[in-house]
Amino acid sequence: MPPKSILKKTPAATSTQGQAAVAANAPPPARAVNQRHLSTAVHHARIYEQRKQAETAILDAVFELMDFPTSPDADPTRPSPSDAHRFRQAIVPFQPSDYDGLIEERNIADKCGYTLCPRPKGKAPSAAKKHFVETSKGVQIVDRKKLEMWCSDDCARRALFVKVQLNEEPAWLRQGDFGTEIELMVDNTEDHHKALPLRLKKAAAPAPKDTEEEDAAAAWAARDDALADLAIERGETPGRLSKVNKDLITDKIKERVARFQPTPPSLPPGQSHMAIEGHVPKSAREAERKDSDDEDDEQDWDKALPG
């Protein structure tokens, strides 16, 4: 005899057993799709998809940049325009941590950490894990890994010059196109700007050598940018004088010229300084009398005044 089911039997179960058993055991019927829930789910799925794509792009970029530069006798100070262009393009979605990962990968492949340098990585004086290094701040203990990261200090500087420009925000959270221009520290600047089609001529001007001059130029550029932004915000066409300005501010300045010597304010004669609209309260009157008994300062002062 088969074991008896303890499940509740629906009326239909007695008549058509096979089908009813399925119905009793079936999972609860699916509810009708709520359009709002569906759109929320799709929205979040899109976000995940975007994130996955961004991460894959970074991984692919690391794979590609590991083997850079393309020619074995490239010069890190004067990289070929195509290499530099590809590097600048591929590095845009990187976070600083991704860039560290790239450096680590290059080091594992026994290459200098700077992407445009074809030389092998540096060699520490010995195989010890930690090394003493003389620096300007005194002797420091440094990991061997860190010592062997770069082939030279110059490459380190060039690589870190790129790192500080990277956006800390993950690529899939970034909005707009801000900070998509990564500058490289190169000696043949002119070649690179020629190789880039979408650069403005103004920005292609070689950077002034004097730091003070550079700062000033940067400040002026920032001011111009800000003014342009402001103009757009006001609904003006950039590069044209606006009508709004005239109505808002007039540029006629009236100077106030003094025609006579200023005089200090004085009390009318016979008026107490304690008076409130001509009335002197009783308490004040008594106090005044006492004061005038003690010293006649007030009157002296009155006399001393010219008029």
């Binding site: 055991n25 079936a26 609860p28 991984l59 794979f63």
Partner: protein, 239 residues
């Protein structure tokens, strides 16, 4: 000095012998075809087979490939549907590699993937001495998409040698885990009138889940000893 060197080499040989046995057992427990002799290889045999004359170990020779047993293929084949009358099993030949490198990065990973592609292996296991670099770890997570979606279908798993020195499933506190096939899972959900989201869960990063190579969405049956009931079965959904 020579003595300590010998001792070190012998210790390494001993460790690797254990790792090798655990790896074979792991493949057997997953359902691949592994001979019992391979799981129970004695230390002397192991040293003879994979050691060099100087007593060093040749990790390159320890690599092996194995094919899934019929049972395993059946378990991993999704049920036939009207649209797909002859579904492909989601399992295939496995390649196991012992890597001796200290630093493993994207370069080694790329070589490994190329090897898997050339040998048309379904999935790969890499057994390494030191943890992989962060980027390589991320590369493994997206291994199927790598190199234009032509990566190994079954993905790549990475184990540290020291994690495989001991077979954790032989520990008395680790209950039996049994992987359910798609049909068994459907039956279970029907019997208990559940949705799969209503099951208790197990992470795919759980040591035992890693040992069995559980994939997201699979259900594992866990059979424990119970004082009152003798045996107690529970089910967990890999997540």
């Amino acid at each position: 000095m020579a003595d300590s060197g010998d001792h070190k080499a012998r210790q390494e040989m001993l460790d690797l012998w254990r790792v090798y046995r655990t790896t074979k057992e792991m493949c057997r427990d997953r359902g691949y075809n592994v001979l019992p002799e391979e799981c129970n290889i004695s230390f002397d045999d192991f040293a003879r087979k994979f050691g060099t004359e100087s007593g060093q170990i040749a990790r390159g020779q320890m690599n092996f490939s194995t094919i899934p047993s019929e049972d395993m293929v059946r378990k991993y084949t999704p049920p036939a549907t009207p649209k797909v009358p002859h579904p492909e099993p989601a399992i295939g030949t496995l390649w196991v590699e012992f890597n001796a490198d200290e630093n493993i990065g994207m370069k080694n990973l790329r070589e490994f993937i190329t090897h898997l592609q050339n040998g048309s292996y379904y999935s790969g296991i890499m057994i390494v001495v030191k943890p992989l670099s962060g980027m390589a770890m991320r590369g493994i997570r997206g291994a199927q998409q790598l190199s234009g979606g032509s990566g190994p279908k079954g993905g790549i798993e990475v184990f540290l040698e020291q994690d495989l020195k001991i077979n954790i499933t032989k520990h008395e506190l680790v209950p039996t885990h049994l992987l359910l096939s798609t049909e068994e899972k459907a039956q279970l959900l029907k019997r208990y009138r559940l949705k799969e989201t209503q099951l208790p869960r197990i992470q795919v990063t759980d040591p035992v889940a890693k040992y069995y190579g559980l994939r997201r969405g699979q259900v594992v049956k866990i059979i424990r000893k119970s004082e009152t009931a003798g045996r107690y079965a529970s089910y967990r959904w890999a997540i």
